[in-house]
């Protein structure tokens, strides 16, 4: 029972963990990324389509590239054109939602899903992405904690003017973080369509991108915190699905919808108890204007 639960967490967590890490990277550099949902969708679609004509692992890379490409659009809008970061993110979500459906119909003549592909192989009973999702949070943690690049990344999210005064260019640094963020979100999406399932379905990622943003906030904008929260939320999902099959009686007492709402409600409660101001990066959401000092 407990083993089954752990197994289902290991299967459910990777998409959320990758996306939450992606969100964290972008926001620590000072760029709000609520477009994670759309970037995941791009990654899921591109990976599933690419895997039709090439080996699935390469398809996953294509998914990451697609996520990064969409993130590039976000970066161009918010960093080069100094557009509102939330607006750009939401616009990306709306476009990707409609574009995915449009392409499904236009290319595959099917409103529901792409044809099946071969799933990623299993390593020790789980997809390779599961093991990557366990290691990656520590790598990202180390990278932004202890490397010069990470220090600059965090600084550019707190006080970009200071970074610029140090002679480091703000825009490329932020752009890099946003691209990485998109690649990770794309990887999360690809995990959905190549590991969790064996195709892209029209509703993907059905709100997981927003759950990843919640995980990032819950984890106080730190890689380990975000990944931990993502795993915790995945635990909730696994519990919900597990309960439906093993103990449907319990779902009468605690309805499915309540369990679904829990990650968001918890995030909100934690946020309002601790107050958000001292946790979020100081320059989050503010376009960097070199003429303002």
């Amino acid at each position: 029972m407990i083993l089954a639960l752990i197994n289902s967490i290991l299967d459910a967590a990777p998409p959320l963990v990758f996306a939450a890490l992606g969100a964290t990277l972008s926001e620590r550099a000072g760029v709000v990324n609520v477009g994670i949902e759309g970037m995941m969708r791009a990654g899921a679609f591109a990976a599933a389509v690419a895997a039709l004509v090439m080996p699935t692992p390469l398809g996953v890379l294509v998914g990451m590239a697609a996520g990064a490409a969409v993130a590039g659009l976000h970066g161009w809008l918010t960093i080069r054109l100094r557009s509102d970061q939330v607006v750009s993110g939401m616009a990306i979500n709306l476009v990707m939602l409609a574009l995915g459906t449009f392409l499904l119909e236009a290319v595959f003549n099917s409103p529901s899903s792409t044809p099946a592909i071969t799933q990623l192989p299993l390593w020790f009973g789980h997809s390779p992405l599961t093991w990557l999702a366990i290691v990656l949070p520590f790598i990202v943690h180390y990278a932004i904690r202890s490397t010069p690049w990470g220090l600059r990344l965090r600084a550019v999210g707190e006080k970009p003017q200071a970074v610029a005064a140090m002679g480091v260019r703000v825009a490329p640094l932020r752009f890099g973080a946003v691209l990485l963020s998109g690649a990770l979100a794309g990887l999360g999406g690809a995990a959905l369509s190549t590991a969790t399932l064996d195709r892209f379905e029209h509703h993907m990622p059905s709100g997981l991108g927003f759950m990843a943003v919640a995980a990032m906030v819950f984890g106080r904008w730190t890689p380990l915190g975000a990944a931990g929260a993502a795993a915790f939320f995945a635990f909730g999902n696994a519990l919900r699905i597990g309960l439906a099959s093993s103990a449907p009686g319990l779902l009468e007492v605690v309805p499915k919808g309540v369990l679904l709402a829990l990650p968001y409600a918890l995030t909100l409660v934690v946020l309002s108890v601790q107050g958000a101001k001292n946790v979020a990066p100081a320059a989050l959401g503010q376009p960097y204007d070199p003429e303002l000092r």
């Binding site: 449009f102 003549n109 909100l268």
Partner: protein, 357 residues
């Protein structure tokens, strides 16, 4: 007028880009046919009307366009009103969901004579949406929680609780006979919004409400002291505070009004066309409101105009299915238009080059 130029150009470019997308994936002729079908489906099939003389070819599309335009106007106003005081209400979706549920419940469970019943339903929806929007406003003022984050969370709380619990659980329709039904109980006939054009068209009183809401908001924001105060808060909180304006009260009032508008959008959907809270709401109307507010540049009449256009296109979208283009195609146009509007600086640079020597 000149201020509206970037929005107009964005919408036009989005339509052209999407036309090429359709032409590339199908062929040129099919794309033309599909776009014509969308246009006739949006604003009346005039060629067919002159051919057959059947009024339904005009009235039915207009009805679909009008009902969708009304909902989009309400959620668009919701986002626009919050923008006025400088708040970003991403929570219109959640507020719409709770408003829709309130309308469906009052519509089904309360007994009252016609006019009173509809009013009660609308009031319940506005109150539910308004109260739900009060949460992020209070959290912002008391705990410093950014409204973008809190409204995103509240959206999913509302969607999870309503769609995945209440509507399939405690409030599920009682099965009558042998056919299983999804969603909540049907609302009583007395709670339905009156139809404007008889039975051939689903056009209902919701459009009139949306019209009044947009005009009323415009008057309020431009001709009333409080509307001016909101604008001052949105432009600079510090300056507004220095001028003796109660900024906190402005935040609370604007968010409650925003939530009430989103809730009314939900009510129009339920009382006008769905007649119950369905298993799924069909479109993310609340998220679409963000697009309406931004393409309409936060101006109530701009929101009304752009909602009318996209309400129409989305009504016509269902007809594109015949040509192998998914019915959500107008949403692609809408998303792209929003993305182009977001690239504000780009338009400003382009227009400046043309405008001034």
């Amino acid at each position: 007028m000149r201020k509206a130029l970037p929005s107009v150009l964005s919408v036009v470019s989005a339509i052209i880009l999407c036309f090429f997308a359709a032409a590339l994936t199908r062929d040129f002729g099919t794309a033309v046919d599909a776009f014509l079908a969308m246009w006739w489906g949006a604003f009346g099939d005039w060629p067919k009307f002159f051919e057959t003389g059947s009024a339904a070819t005009i009235l039915r599309p207009l009805g679909e366009a009008g009902t969708k335009a009304a909902i989009l106007t309400f959620t668009g106003l919701s986002v626009a009103v919050a923008f006025r005081v400088g708040l970003f209400n991403i929570g219109a979706q959640g507020q719409l969901v709770v408003g829709a549920l309130a309308a469906a419940v009052v519509g089904a469970k309360v007994n009252a004579p016609g006019f009173v019943h509809v009013t009660l339903c609308l009031a319940a929806a506005a109150a539910a949406g308004g109260l739900y929007a009060l949460i992020p406003a209070v959290l912002k003022l008391k705990r410093g929680v950014h409204e973008v984050i809190s409204t995103i969370m509240l959206n999913w709380v509302a969607i999870s609780l309503v769609d995945n619990w209440l509507v399939i659980g405690p409030l599920k329709a009682t099965a009558s006979g042998d056919n299983s039904i999804s969603g909540t109980d049907q609302i009583l006939p007395s709670a339905e919004l009156p139809r404007l054009l008889g039975e051939t068209s689903r056009l209902n009183f919701g459009l009139v409400l949306a019209l009044f809401a947009a005009l009323g908001t415009w008057l309020f924001l431009t001709r009333f002291t409080r509307g001016f105060e909101w604008k001052a808060i949105g432009l600079s909180q510090d300056a507004a505070r220095a001028a003796g304006i109660d900024v906190d009260r402005g935040f609370l009032e604007a968010m409650v009004l925003a939530g009430a508008f989103a809730g009314l959008g939900g009510a129009v959907l339920i009382l006008g066309t769905e007649l119950k809270y369905p298993a799924t709401l069909g479109a993310p109307w609340g998220f679409d409101g963000i697009a309406m507010a931004l393409i309409g540049q936060g101006h109530p009449l701009g929101v009304l105009a752009i909602s009318t256009l996209f309400g129409g296109l989305r009504a016509g979208g269902t007809r594109m299915q015949l040509f192998g283009v998914h019915k959500s195609f107008p949403e692609l146009i809408q998303g792209l238009a929003l993305l182009l509007v977001a690239a504000k600086l780009l338009w400003e640079r382009l227009l400046r080059k043309r405008g001034t020597p």
